[in-house]
Symmetry: C2
């Protein structure tokens, strides 16, 4: 080794930072368990080399635990048009999160900026193509909100409700998984324009939260009350809009209770993610007789709506007319448990993991 190489090596070692990471141990089938994930002690080069001309080095602050991540844990069969790629066993999880820029060679970002977007489940991430990261300009709210109400779940709730459901005053709106990161917002957005809103959740605590804090007109515990009966009770004349976060049998039941010309926004199907064969939905003929539109959507198709949404959202947050409940786990070590927990409904509100302070 010549002197130049030695110097290079010394410099590199000096720049290495310890970097704890969450890795997928193996492809998941059925419900994920904590042992499907591992904590790896790694190192990251905290100095951007001169040739990484469009990169950012991030200190990660919050990780977002989102149901869609379940798909990335499975072995996938490719079909035309699918957009989700599986995590490779042994690799670091990737998901939405909030971070602080430590170093940047990308013209849009500078040291000290806060950003949200796709990051690794690790203490520090080197993002070599940061074009899709969002710079955070408004910091007078909890930064974790950019993993929730001001991030992907927020925009999903907003576009899913306003652009997919065509809501109008007095529409009867049903939201499943209503106390989650998306559902709690859909209900509040619907109340803002004068809809009648009913939500379902898995515990009494969440049901109370929906009625007392989120302003839902009614809410029920689908584990204690038969969903068909509850829907008939709370929607004696039927449902105009169903914002579906759960799929499966609940969707099947709701279709029967929809009004003519109803709209169903398919946002997620968490009830189906951990079972081998998805449940069959049997009542689709009613979509014809009732002329129902059922539409799947992905919020990334609506990036252009984000500026409008942030403006709207921050105004209402400042006025206290919009609330957001988060369930914040502490420490990267606890990230797997937090992620697994959302598939059992253990979270109350949007689940995030705080892995560092600014």
């Amino acid at each position: 080794m010549n002197e130049e190489e030695e110097e290079k090596k010394r410099k590199m070692v000096k720049n290495l930072l310890p970097n704890k990471q969450i890795v997928l141990n193996q492809s998941v089938s059925g419900y994920p368990k904590e042992s499907d994930f591992g904590l790896r002690s790694s190192f990251i080069n905290c100095s951007l080399s001169d040739d990484s001309s469009q990169a950012v080095l991030l200190k990660n602050l919050y990780l977002s635990c989102d149901p869609y991540m379940r798909h990335r844990m499975s072995d996938q069969v490719a079909h035309p048009g699918t957009i989700i790629q599986s995590f490779t066993p042994g690799s670091v999880l990737v998901g939405y999160g909030v971070s602080k820029v430590m170093e940047s060679t990308h013209p849009r970002f500078k040291e000290g900026d806060f950003v949200w977007g796709m990051i690794g489940w690790e203490e520090y991430s080197l993002i070599s193509s940061p074009d899709r990261l969002n710079k955070i300009s408004f910091t007078d709210v909890p930064l974790s909100y950019y993993a929730g109400i001001l991030g992907m779940p927020g925009i999903a709730a907003y576009v899913g409700f306003h652009k997919i459901c065509y809501p109008k005053e007095r529409d009867c709106v049903y939201v499943s998984s209503a106390a989650g990161g998306v559902g709690q917002l859909v209900g509040q957005f619907a109340k803002m324009i004068g809809c009648y809103v009913v939500g379902s959740a898995s515990t009494k605590e969440k049901v109370d939260l929906l009625k007392q804090k989120m302003g839902f007109d009614e809410a029920f515990n689908y584990k204690e009350e038969n969903s068909g009966s509850a829907l008939r009770k709370y929607f004696p004349e039927g449902i105009d809009i169903y914002f579906d976060n759960v799929g499966g049998r609940m969707l099947d039941e709701v279709i029967l209770q929809m009004k003519a010309h109803g709209r169903i926004a398919l946002c997620g199907m968490i009830s189906q993610y951990n079972i081998e064969e998805p449940e069959g939905v049997h009542n689709l003929f009613s979509l014809i007789m009732k002329r129902i539109e059922m539409k799947g959507f992905v919020e990334t198709d609506f990036d252009h709506v984000y500026p409008e949404y942030v403006e709207f959202c921050i105004k209402y947050l400042q006025q206290g007319k919009l609330v957001y409940v988060e369930d914040v786990a502490q420490g990267i070590e606890n990230a797997p448990a937090a992620l697994v927990g959302i598939f059992y409904g253990r979270n109350v509100g949007k689940q995030v993991v705080c892995i560092a302070n600014e």
Copy 2:
């Protein structure tokens, strides 16, 4: 009985015409059979009394055999928003048909007019609220076309394709039950705007018809070829538009082969009408990942489009750029067999029953 009453009675008897009718013997479960229907020899008063001030008396020429009629044969459970009412056992079937006006006390109709719309399955019908009957102004085509291409199936194909599927040039379009009264038109409409079109049907004869007469790019016999394999073969890059006439397992299979941002028009689900429990559709999560819009529709919501459609259709018929294949049964006695036959795919083209000449 006084003289006035006697006179009334004499006059009534004199005006009575024999009127053969098809009645539903009993509610149907499973596949309908000819014995579910009966031929009744009845009489109809062929003189409109002075107080029926808005009625028409019709001589019925063609009856339309349509899959949706299966629902009216069942006992129904009412759900919000459904639009189909069951036939009462013992009563005359009602369906789309083409008729000649024998007598009218309604200002819009006069003797000799041809009309299409909802009529009884009988030789003569007294329609006391004829507002929804359509007057036929263009008679330079077979009158039976008003039970098909120029009637309900035609407008269903037109609005279902153009208003529900948002088609554009080079879209890859799949039509099930493609040789039926609706499907054959959807394929031709799609070819007109430069789509790639594949249809499926239940016999070699129909498959040949689709390719040789209707201009479909490809067609397959779903009873001989596995639908999944056929779809992968004919749509190597996936399907943009699925015009669904069959539902059930076929729909489930198609969803997997749809491209991102695909559109599914739900027109009918004939594969599901004769089974006790509809088949479950398991692949709805793909609607989310692929942002697919699936929409049920009923052509009666698009009555305002009918004039535009007729103009378009007649122009292309006259130019020989649109063809329509009918399967015409002869005689009201054969109407039950013709109706039952469509649920076994016995018809080649649109099934109608000719019960009288002009």
